[in-house]
Symmetry: D2
Subunit: 480 residues, 4 copies
Amino acid sequence: MNDDRQASLQSDSFQQQRIQFRRIRLKTNIELELFKRACLSSRAHVEMLGKTGILPADSAGRLCAALAEIYAELEDGSQAISDSDNDVYEAQERLLRDRLGEEYVLARTAKSRNDQVACDLRLWLRDVSLAIAANILNMRRTFLDLADRDIETVMPGYTHMQPAEAILLSHWWLANEARFARDFSRLDDFFKRLNLLPLGANVMAGTREPIDRLLVARSLGFDDVIENSLDAVSDRDFLIEFGAFASIAGLHFSQLGSELLLWATQEFAFAKIPQHLTINTAMIPIKRNPEILEVLRARPSLIFGRMVEFIVQLKAITTGFSQDLQECVLGLADIVDTLDLLLDLTVGLLPGIELDSNRMKQVACADLVNVTKALDYLLDKGVPSDIAARVIDYLGSYCRTRHKYLSDLALSEWQQFSPAFEEDIYESVSMEASVGAFCSFGGSSKEQVLLALARARQLLELDLVRLKQLESKFAGGQAI
Amino acid sequence: MNDDRQASLQSDSFQQQRIQFRRIRLKTNIELELFKRACLSSRAHVEMLGKTGILPADSAGRLCAALAEIYAELEDGSQAISDSDNDVYEAQERLLRDRLGEEYVLARTAKSRNDQVACDLRLWLRDVSLAIAANILNMRRTFLDLADRDIETVMPGYTHMQPAEAILLSHWWLANEARFARDFSRLDDFFKRLNLLPLGANVMAGTREPIDRLLVARSLGFDDVIENSLDAVSDRDFLIEFGAFASIAGLHFSQLGSELLLWATQEFAFAKIPQHLTINTAMIPIKRNPEILEVLRARPSLIFGRMVEFIVQLKAITTGFSQDLQECVLGLADIVDTLDLLLDLTVGLLPGIELDSNRMKQVACADLVNVTKALDYLLDKGVPSDIAARVIDYLGSYCRTRHKYLSDLALSEWQQFSPAFEEDIYESVSMEASVGAFCSFGGSSKEQVLLALARARQLLELDLVRLKQLESKFAGGQAI
Amino acid sequence: MNDDRQASLQSDSFQQQRIQFRRIRLKTNIELELFKRACLSSRAHVEMLGKTGILPADSAGRLCAALAEIYAELEDGSQAISDSDNDVYEAQERLLRDRLGEEYVLARTAKSRNDQVACDLRLWLRDVSLAIAANILNMRRTFLDLADRDIETVMPGYTHMQPAEAILLSHWWLANEARFARDFSRLDDFFKRLNLLPLGANVMAGTREPIDRLLVARSLGFDDVIENSLDAVSDRDFLIEFGAFASIAGLHFSQLGSELLLWATQEFAFAKIPQHLTINTAMIPIKRNPEILEVLRARPSLIFGRMVEFIVQLKAITTGFSQDLQECVLGLADIVDTLDLLLDLTVGLLPGIELDSNRMKQVACADLVNVTKALDYLLDKGVPSDIAARVIDYLGSYCRTRHKYLSDLALSEWQQFSPAFEEDIYESVSMEASVGAFCSFGGSSKEQVLLALARARQLLELDLVRLKQLESKFAGGQAI
Amino acid sequence: MNDDRQASLQSDSFQQQRIQFRRIRLKTNIELELFKRACLSSRAHVEMLGKTGILPADSAGRLCAALAEIYAELEDGSQAISDSDNDVYEAQERLLRDRLGEEYVLARTAKSRNDQVACDLRLWLRDVSLAIAANILNMRRTFLDLADRDIETVMPGYTHMQPAEAILLSHWWLANEARFARDFSRLDDFFKRLNLLPLGANVMAGTREPIDRLLVARSLGFDDVIENSLDAVSDRDFLIEFGAFASIAGLHFSQLGSELLLWATQEFAFAKIPQHLTINTAMIPIKRNPEILEVLRARPSLIFGRMVEFIVQLKAITTGFSQDLQECVLGLADIVDTLDLLLDLTVGLLPGIELDSNRMKQVACADLVNVTKALDYLLDKGVPSDIAARVIDYLGSYCRTRHKYLSDLALSEWQQFSPAFEEDIYESVSMEASVGAFCSFGGSSKEQVLLALARARQLLELDLVRLKQLESKFAGGQAI
């Protein structure tokens, strides 16, 4: 799926994505998604009721068949919730009754709306989270490929938005990749607490029937049950935990978008958005508005707000089930859609961005970086520090007035300021020497970056293995 | 419209509302709403261009006529934004070109997407805010009518959720009404800063054409222009100001819902939700789940989150126009829909709630209220305060053990604890005497409450006059 | 005071401020501030009790004198809340008892902690909000002075962070000033709802004593009483309304800081932070880290978070008094301190920022701005739009490759691309002509900007008059 | 330490805690805490520089000794940051220079403020998080002890705040414990990403010196280094991850406080706050204001707001180091103090709460629970469902009018409504039978609850083992 997405972004069908980010609409049909999970969980439950003898085998069989039918019709679009249904559970009962008459009521056995809404929400969130996890891994590969590509490109590293040291562009790509690697790790931890079955808690106290909750859990691909029945119907910790994961990932997108937006200014001139990803006024093809980056910067705000919404919904409510617990549904779908869009845009955008390595290098060489090396040079030569500082200050003014870089100066110019400067000053203020120097573990020298890249690829492989494990575990609960 | 709404809630067609709060969907078609405003603002602009001679009169006339046609088709549903339009402004140009050929391009004169999106958003927000204001006034009338109705009902007033003093239920209704009166006042102040025309700011620096911004402002019902062109395209203060208004109102709904939810518990037993507003399991008509109150309690959370979203969108962006400024649109529509629902539910719900005045009075009379009066009684009789406190403590234990109220005790029982108690103790611990005593301005005595009610009705009348003024002012910009 | 502040920032004593923004500590001693207001409100209340005969005149006199004494000792630092006091009200009673013995208990007459905490919080917030209002006006004058100073400076105006049109720097200063003018206007509206007396609501139902609430209101400088006693003790709307005002102002600071941070990059090179406002490593005087701008960008986040805190505190609580209502105090003080710091830093910083008008003008002239004018030129000459667009595209590439601006090209170079270009093309691509052209109301032409500046000074004068009115109104409640 | 805390709360020295929650002040001296960590990390770094030969062994030795001295003086309070220090790093250099003269400058080797602030913040947050983890385990033990104690107590379980089914109080305690068990699990996962060494990233590109980052990591008890140097100085994901952990735990406290507040109302009358934990007006010992529960309900709001603050601080910033990254410090300390207080209050409060098991049982038996059983009874007897529903409705009205419970009715009364009722109806509406029935896994029957309790104790033991592991791992970095 991810490959498809990437292709579509790079092809002319990107038009669709482009519209998406200026159009105002939701993508996920969350009622449909929950309805499908309601069929899956109901079927697993009824199957267990049949196996344990709580329901007669034939009744259980008919219920299972009917649920499979409804599921299939939801999938192919021939069936849906109607305007007169209060919610998907009413809709499900209506459709069951249409098929089975009054026998439909057996589907209620040892189950209530309270435990089932919790179950279906977890099933859906698990599936979409897994898709997000897959897309994160795919995006990380993009970052690593770009790090491979740009191993020779030098760029300025910044502190306080001032160029501080020359680094490799690959190092910057890897820093971005590392952020999203943490996001995957958080998502993986999150599954431990999400992927638990609440079904069987019934109204909130359990049931008189000798149900087998572990059987249902296994059949739906859950790791375990969420044991305490009161906790099972009311635990919504996962909303905040998911919201926090999504918020941190959202911050990563927002920071990436903000930095690229800076790079895309005329003043930085490090980057250009590819023509086909900009929305131009038809008349001025030369103007490339990086609206897509503004969307990366701004859109994650929705995620943060939705997490706040969840927190306030949950504040001050008491144990047991209440409608407050269901209020999160639209917000969750919104977060998922938003992450989806951010992942799509980023993967579609990054490989096509035109980076100007000459301009980057030029800024990386500029005085403010080299000046510290020139200062070190003087100190190494034994010039007292206050005098050295003054020399450097004058040098800086001299260069700025004449629009020159330190590396452009003739030796005679250097020596106007201090006789201590000799031919080897050019080695100090050479950018290549400088970048190569950061040879500590995790530093920006080419050698270190190549090692880091290899390690990052290894971690990505491990994460892919982990993803496959999760996919095959969850598969049980994903289709009939 | 409000009367209609109220009627529909009270009639059996309330079914629809009931569904609404469990169903997951948006009401406002925000793209359509903005599209209609785009026609209104474009027409006012083109008309001005004609009047000032910037465009030839006949071109201006044809453009105005075409815009009026498109508006009418949007109104009757025969025209809409299509999937291939990037946004409503592309859609508008497409429809204009269909009608006028290349002359459509004249509609762009002295106007850009940047100032127009700001203008159309303000036009729409102004209209829906006014509708909200009208509904708030309508709801306040409901509160006042209930205060009238319940002038004889005594209820306990609480501190720290402990009954503290007996008050009139009318006093409580008036306290609620006072909150929403402040909300109206905030909304009214808000219009001063919202109802300003950004159009004419063009891209963000103004235009070379000798446009007449005040003419456009007047024709669209704006109070004035937002002068500085850079400010005009980028000012989004109104998002937070509206968000804060809506959040405070949301808190009022959440607090009201929470208190009624408490009253609807079996333990308080002050209130029952009318049967037709509950969602029962079909089988147990006796059970009345107050889900509707849980929605009042929880749903405002969306508003708070959306306001946070706006804040984060606006953080750290720079002057001029950027796509970040358009990201608010769906959130705004969400807030408006939410306020709408909360107002509808409340007005539909309150008159039908069944209040048990006997139960309220019983709790209001209970020991914890009277005990302070018994203590005052002893102190008035000259009993030293430490002894009085001990006496009252014993009396309390005595009553609790025997499940009696102080007012139930025989004089002999009183005198077991202190000979200072005499026949007139019954006046002190009578609830009626107690309520009547709070005769200070704004207090809970019947006399004060009746005066307060009269003043509240007067203020409501003044606010209705203000509403009418706003309605007639805005009318210019509401239709073609 | 504001002048003092500005002076201190510009003098070498700015050292203190500099520390402040990296040091981690609170400024406002909020308990002391509330303690002082508790003395003021208690005294006004007791005075009224004396005048109305509820308390004997001599007792009232002694209480008033004692409260004045305590107030004075709090002012001069000789008295304070002690570690064993539960809160300032316990502390006040302790100090009164020390002075008056058991007569101190009369100070409790017809008053409770519930109405008094609301009263004292409003008194304090009113005073500090007024100081903030004064500082906003002072800062607005700074903006206007800078607009005066920079009336000849041309800068690029941006859309999507791309230079779009050349504007005057004065126009930019005025856009910033307009934002803070709205903030003042919001604060002024806020006082209408804040400056109301809750005292007299007593526990929450009023009192039996024939108190005169309006007398107390007048003596404390309140506009009126907050009437309904239940509402009076529990209304905390003003927390959110103040939080929203502060958040919007905070966004203005954050946006200003972000834009200046951009300007201070080496790549933009529009601005330099004055040496004495930077925190350098001692060794590299040339490096000027704009940490102060990062503080402007980041610090307002505290305000947003505190407002969220208030909202959650108030969610789902019921009428009457509860401790939840007091939880806001530290957050409020934090917001006030933060606004104070932001105002101080901004007023101290702006006049000293070194702006490079040549660099600004250079960017404002750059191709991306002029290119639209060259396109207009061709269209005016009747060149078909698709051909014109292609010509402009080629021209752009030509210039970029040769590092030239359009205005640098020889006529022969222009004519290589289209014979339609003639000598008058230089007028079109001249920046001066361009800026002058934005002559619409509120536009960026010098004439319009001068008019706007005059209007802004008039509004500032009116706001200063308004401030004086508020100051003299509030004065009653500010000292004994 | 936890035992001490508990003791202090239960002893009369609880006075101090009681003050704490009404007083307005911070507990953690965050600058001191960071200063101490700065000594620890500096020493580990210098030691490594000595071992790797980057610094001469004797210089490294003198620096280590001086750092140990400063640390000791900070510990015993004889040394502190002074008002003239810009931050703790300036303070540290000042103190080093006092001791070592210009040799102090060697401490800067291969290290910058940028990587060190990140390191010290992680060290401190790790330590306080571990203390929080220990307190959570301690509190969980309290919950389990209470579950042991209350195994015979029946209470109503609620849906929509209506009594739905009778459950065991132990079951409720276990549901609460399960929430905090998840919080511990989240904290444990969090350590994986927090406990990584950023030191060695230097300014942000690494260093030329052949440093050994793993050696430093081991010596400070870190699991590993945070590799990429750019990522190392700027990663603040852990702020949000910690904020989310703390927010979820905060919600658990707020929900617990809210529910107990409900139980402490006169109307529910399930619970009483012990006298010594209430703040009474001295005069009315009988009144027990549960302010402490309101603090549990409201105080977590601070945590949520601080997390929002962190998110906004991080939005839209670019890679590298900036002052924005340091703005979180006070907010973090605030969260830690708040969690600390919430844990203290809860552990001190819970064992002392007086629960009225009779009242709980009485409500659990009330009609609304039994009515579903009576309905089941009729259906089992073959009464058609519509008739059964009507019978039950009448029965309900009958009981309410007469203030009777179903279980109080004589058989003749039952049979007035339906002849289907026979003697065995009393078994159906007996509460004991009902509770015992919920025998499914995780259900509320005594048998299930005892098994659940045993499993919860096992998990607690495992978590204690895990805690010990973390404690011994971190120990390296906690003292000199």
